[in-house]
């Protein structure tokens, strides 16, 4: 008996050996050893800037100057006393600044992707950029806001890095580890000229933009950026003057994008109560059932004027002409059949369908659908060992397409103001959160199709996988009980057309 007890205790202990609690929160990325230096990136086509000389970078001091030799001595001194924490910082940032900041911003989106809680009187406060630390925190990084944030970050980094590449090859200053045998290369050594430092360029442009996009996270953002620059210095990759020039350049480029963000229409995207009513009145005037918030208390719709925002690669006319046709009338037989299909689907989900609904949920508190596609893209960027400037191009193309997809999709959503399935049939209960904006067309489908088109162009050997992911992400909304099939089909077509703009830009930007 005593033995059997021993046995059972032993069995329990063994079961527990399986309880490994170790979870790695960040992506495990190898040190970036770029497949190509992309030395011609200084001539790649610009998107917002006029060209690489819009922001001149002053001539650096000569390698032989006393000032520069003092900088090298400072690096040697720093390397002599590196702590374990400093080495971890080096290892973290050696994966590449573009990949790391993309990951950090996905975390910021997830942190800020929470809707305001209702007040006691049943109304909702609006996040205030002038008071970002209050409740509700600013921003509510919902899918359109997230799409815009990812795109600003990526495009600004891309433009700043093209400028940096241009000046790097003007001055051709080598890195400290190459110039001084007393300095160890603690990151893979490359022949990329060090002046201005690309790490500092990325940190400068990123910090200034994130201060505007996520002002309540300013402390964390500033610390991370300083770590990135320190890592460049400690690793023997950049000298203080390389870093100072890079930081100045990055911040200068950021000014252009901060100004653009201040005037791109975001400020008015929330609309007014009169406008919210006008959407409903318009739907009624067209003989349709208007969308109603299913939240309790009813919440104003999410960013009704986001469809009017400035796009990256489409003209306002393009935005209108690429729109899908009208959805089936809310009173039509087709709509009735589509409502019935949603009901049938959510009432009989199998395990696989349920898992797909959760996999692509990307709802409140997550990095949002555009974040999911950045997550996917990051692995391909890593595996392709892209240089910083080429990684920035990949994320810029992807995120411009998804931002434009958000603008296009939101315009159509508020043009038709179509009700969600659960509004037309209250027996439809969802297995994921119900988004608080009109149904047609599906935002997931639009984002995913735009992303899949761009990634398929950039990584053609994986296009079948992107296509399958796009289809899975889209149909997940039917499984979730929050979209009709026509929302999904028209959304995918719309997204693919919008993604085409980014592909056409990429075909002629000089980077191929």
């Amino acid at each position: 008996m005593r033995r059997s007890l021993t046995h059972s205790v032993l069995a329990l202990a063994l079961t527990c050996a399986a309880c490994d609690h170790t979870i790695t929160s960040t992506e495990l990325l190898p040190p970036l050893d770029a497949a190509s230096l992309d030395s011609a990136a200084g001539s790649w086509r610009m998107i917002v800037l006029s060209g690489p000389t819009q922001f001149p970078v002053t001539t650096p001091a000569a390698d032989t100057s006393a000032a520069y030799r003092a900088e090298l001595a400072a690096i040697r001194a720093a390397q002599a006393h590196l702590t374990a924490a400093q080495r971890r910082t080096i290892a973290y940032w050696s994966a590449g600044g573009v990949l790391r900041w993309n990951e950090i911003v996905r975390g910021l989106v997830a942190r800020f992707n929470l809707p305001p809680a209702p007040r006691a009187d049943g109304t909702y406060p609006v996040p205030d950029p002038e008071n970002p630390f209050a409740d509700p925190q600013f921003p509510f990084a919902n899918p359109p806001y997230a799409a815009r944030a990812y795109s600003y970050l990526a495009v600004a980094q891309f433009e700043a890095l093209k400028t940096a590449w241009y000046w790097k090859y003007q001055y051709n200053r080598r890195s400290p580890a190459q110039l001084d045998t007393g300095i160890a290369a603690l990151r893979p050594l490359s022949d990329l000229p060090a002046y201005p430092s690309e790490d500092a360029v990325i940190s400068g442009v990123t910090v200034e933009l994130l201060k505007v996009l996520f002002p309540a996270a300013v402390e964390e953002i500033t610390q991370r950026a300083a770590e990135q620059r320190n890592a460049a210095l400690w690793s023997g990759k950049a000298a203080p003057s390389d870093i100072a020039a890079g930081l100045t350049l990055g911040k200068a480029v950021a000014v252009v994008f901060v100004a653009r963000a201040g005037a791109d229409g975001m400020k008015n995207a929330g609309g007014t109560p009169a406008q919210w009513q006008a959407f409903a009145d318009s739907a009624v005037a067209h003989g349709e059932i208007p969308w109603q918030s299913q939240e309790s208390p009813p919440r104003p719709p999410m960013l009704p004027n986001f469809g009017l925002l400035q796009t990256w690669l489409m003209t306002p006319t393009d935005v209108v002409t690429e729109r899908p046709p009208a959805p089936p009338s809310t009173l039509s037989d087709q709509m009735q059949q589509e409502v019935a299909e949603v009901r049938r689907t959510v009432d009989h989900l199998d395990g696989t369908q349920l898992a797909i609904a959760y996999k692509w949920n990307d709802g409140a508190g997550t990095y949002a659908p555009p974040g999911h596609w950045n997550d996917i893209a990051a692995e391909y960027v890593r595996d392709a060992r892209m240089s910083e400037v080429r990684a920035a191009r990949t994320f810029a193309l992807l995120n411009m397409a998804m931002h434009d997809a958000a603008v296009g999709c939101w315009g159509v959503k508020f043009l038709y103001f179509n009700p969600r399935p659960g509004q037309l049939d209250p027996n439809i209960k969802t297995v994921i959160g119900l988004p608080n904006f009109p149904s047609y067309p599906s935002g997931h489908s639009t984002f995913s199709a735009a992303a899949a088109v761009v990634l398929s162009y950039l990584f053609p050997r994986s296009s079948a996988q992107f296509d399958a992911m796009k289809d899975e992400a889209s149909i997940s909304r039917l499984y979730g009980g929050i979209h009709y099939r026509s929302d999904i089909e028209r959304g995918k077509e719309h997204g693919a057309r919008i993604g085409g703009y980014a592909v056409r830009f990429a075909q002629q930007d000089g980077a191929n």
């Binding site: 059972s8 527990c16 309880c19 990951e103 975390g107 939240e295 997550t366 974040g371 999911h372």
Partner: protein
């Protein structure tokens, strides 16, 4: 020998009552008790972190549970118990679907390490309990608060001290520690406790529980009342207006009352009714539960 005979005396009328892992009771040797327990739990207020609130998008969350349990006395000092609950949840308001399914299979072994007379008033006993739980279906833990469980494999150890007075009163003190295995989600990333995790695996903090109880056991009747504390050793709070998450720091204090009665006829049949209420908590609903169960005893 002396200890065993005291034990037999004590256990005689309590046959039907050894039904939870944290009580101080055991099944007599070769006695099998099988039962079914129904529980109805609901809450309309919950703690979002430490903020107590209601939420119009869920209204009242109701959880119903039907558990099949069986206990067997391997020896007079060692009992084993198994439980499998079927759980169904629903929200009274809002768009979200309730969930249902078989939850976690639990196996426990309870062993008496000590039973000694304490003065001439009664007997002091000490028990250790080892338990293991494993999800019995592949339900999702990623739809809190409507998921039917946390889907974590777990192992727990527990120590219980019990004093049984000759006149029927008893006191019970118990403390347990639960190790919980990582949980897998269907999604590639999640945010909790101030951080984005780029993985589908969630570390589940361990849990400690302790309880004190008192009650009366006389003849066919047993009435225990228990106050228990449940603390999760880590995990994040539910953020403002966020959904709960599987690894949240779920803490609560609960008061439990129960009446167990062995009916005179048919022999071997016991009934049990009980109620509990959460009095304070963090990242949990303020649940009120009522339970009712039937048990049948077989002697071999």
């Amino acid at each position: 020998m002396r200890i065993s005979s005291v034990l037999l005396l004590l256990i005689g009328p309590a046959t039907l009552h050894a039904q939870t892992v944290d009580d101080g009771m055991l099944f007599p040797r070769r006695a099998l008790s099988a039962g079914v327990v129904y529980a109805h739990e609901d809450w309309s207020q919950y703690w979002e972190g430490t903020l107590k609130r209601e939420n119009g998008n869920i209204g009242t969350v109701t959880t119903q549970r039907v558990s099949w349990t069986a206990g067997y006395g391997v020896t007079d000092r060692l009992s084993v118990m198994v439980t499998v609950p079927y759980v169904a949840t629903r929200a009274s308001q809002g768009p979200l679907q309730g969930m249902s399914g078989v939850q976690d299979f639990m196996l426990a072994a309870k062993y008496q390490i000590l039973a000694t007379p304490l003065t001439d008033r009664g007997t002091l006993r000490a028990l250790v309990v080892g338990a293991a739980g494993i999800p019995a279906s592949n339900y999702t833990p990623d739809f809190q608060p409507l998921s039917i469980g946390l889907a974590s494999r777990q192992v727990s150890g527990r120590f219980t001290l019990n004093f049984q007075a000759r006149d029927g009163w008893f006191l019970n003190g118990s403390a347990g520690y639960t190790w919980r295995a990582n949980v897998k989600l269907d999604r590639p990333a999640y945010y909790t406790n101030g951080q984005l995790y780029l993985t589908d695996e969630v570390a589940m903090p361990d849990v400690v529980e302790y309880s004190i109880g008192a009650g009366l056991q006389q003849g066919r009747l047993c009435i225990p009342v228990t106050l228990s504390q449940h603390r999760t050793l880590g995990g994040g709070d539910i953020r403002r207006q966020d959904m709960p998450f599987v690894s949240n720091r779920m803490d609560f204090a609960r008061i439990d009352g129960m009446v167990m009665y062995s009916v005179p006829a048919p022999r071997n049949l016991g009934i049990r009714v009980g109620t509990s209420r959460i009095v304070s908590g963090r990242n949990v609903g303020q649940a009120t539960e009522v339970t009712g169960g039937l048990f049948y005893n077989f002697h071999f």
